[in-house]
Subunit: 185 residues, 2 copies
């Protein structure tokens, strides 16, 4: 399998009125996605936010679990959170992946919306066994902006159940996406 | 498809030291699992807790989103939370399912642990097309007790990635389980 990374972008994302915003960190998302990354054998999980105070908050949380009281209380949590890296922008995450895995990643964005050129999960095989690392990006709030999607190499198809409802939490959607790609079924 | 329901049990579940406890409600779990239930076309989502003050808390939250300010702010959330029912014990949930779907459900428990008689996802087909409704149960905290598992008709196999790490959040695990059973892949 290629080296696979995920990134959770807090900017640029849409709010409910489709304005471009920097969303606040949600510590539960950091935990849940780190646990998913660890479960599915990913190489790293980047939390992307341009806000300095939010980076400080994330550092404090990570320190609590990695070295503080939490590290003794819950060893499984340490293992997951050790995969987390904090970056101000997506380009920094790409640079770090290049340093670690030897080349810039192929970027696969996720979106809850239908649109042109969506990549089906069933045809992802070649990218999962390719030479380039793979970076899967997720947006907080109302999702990644059109510009982020357009700048990506691929856009994964939205998760569908048997209904037309497409309002999953990032915690559930990220799990389903990683399981569709890497689950042992 | 059979009528399918899910239940999130806050009692009896294990804590970290494998003591049997009643866990506190987490409102984000209520939201995330309701959104999953709505996405996958389920008939209902039961929140099971024996604690009166916790039931009151849940009622207050539901009222905010269903009839209060939240109902206007986020219509998608209303649709999801309309599936939620509050019950003091699992047996009450089964009674309500019988009233609604005509017979007592087949109960499929979930567990992050390996064990005897685990039911594979790939062989769940007959139960999903059976005459009886299906109730899938999830445990909060460190999971459903052995007694709850033994009282169930089936125990679903644990979610596995390519690693041996089995510490997913209920928000992610429930999504993966429902997608494996009902996702349009």
């Amino acid at each position: 399998m290629s080296d696979v990374y995920i990134a959770l972008l807090h900017y640029p994302v849409y709010n409910k009125r489709r304005e471009i915003i920097a969303a606040a960190l949600t510590t539960i998302d950091m935990h849940d996605l780190a646990r998913l990354a660890r479960t599915y054998g990913l190489k790293g999980f980047f939390i992307v936010t341009p806000l300095d105070d939010q980076i400080k908050l994330a550092e404090k949380m990570l320190q609590h679990w990695r070295q503080g009281w939490g590290s003794d209380y819950n060893k499984a949590r340490v293992e997951a959170l050790n995969l987390v890296g904090l970056t101000g922008e997506l380009s920094e995450a790409k640079e770090k992946i290049k340093e670690r895995s030897g080349s810039y990643p192929l970027v696969a964005a996720t979106s809850a919306a239908d649109g042109p050129n969506r990549q089906s999960f069933s045809e992802m095989g070649p990218y999962l066994r390719g030479e380039r690392p793979l970076l899967i990006t997720f947006g907080t709030a109302w999702g990644l902006t059109d510009e982020v999607l357009a700048d990506s190499d691929l856009i994964l198809e939205p998760i569908k159940g048997p209904t037309n409802y497409n309002h999953l939490s990032i915690r559930s959607a990220a799990g389903i996406i990683l399981d569709r790609l890497f689950g042992d079924r």
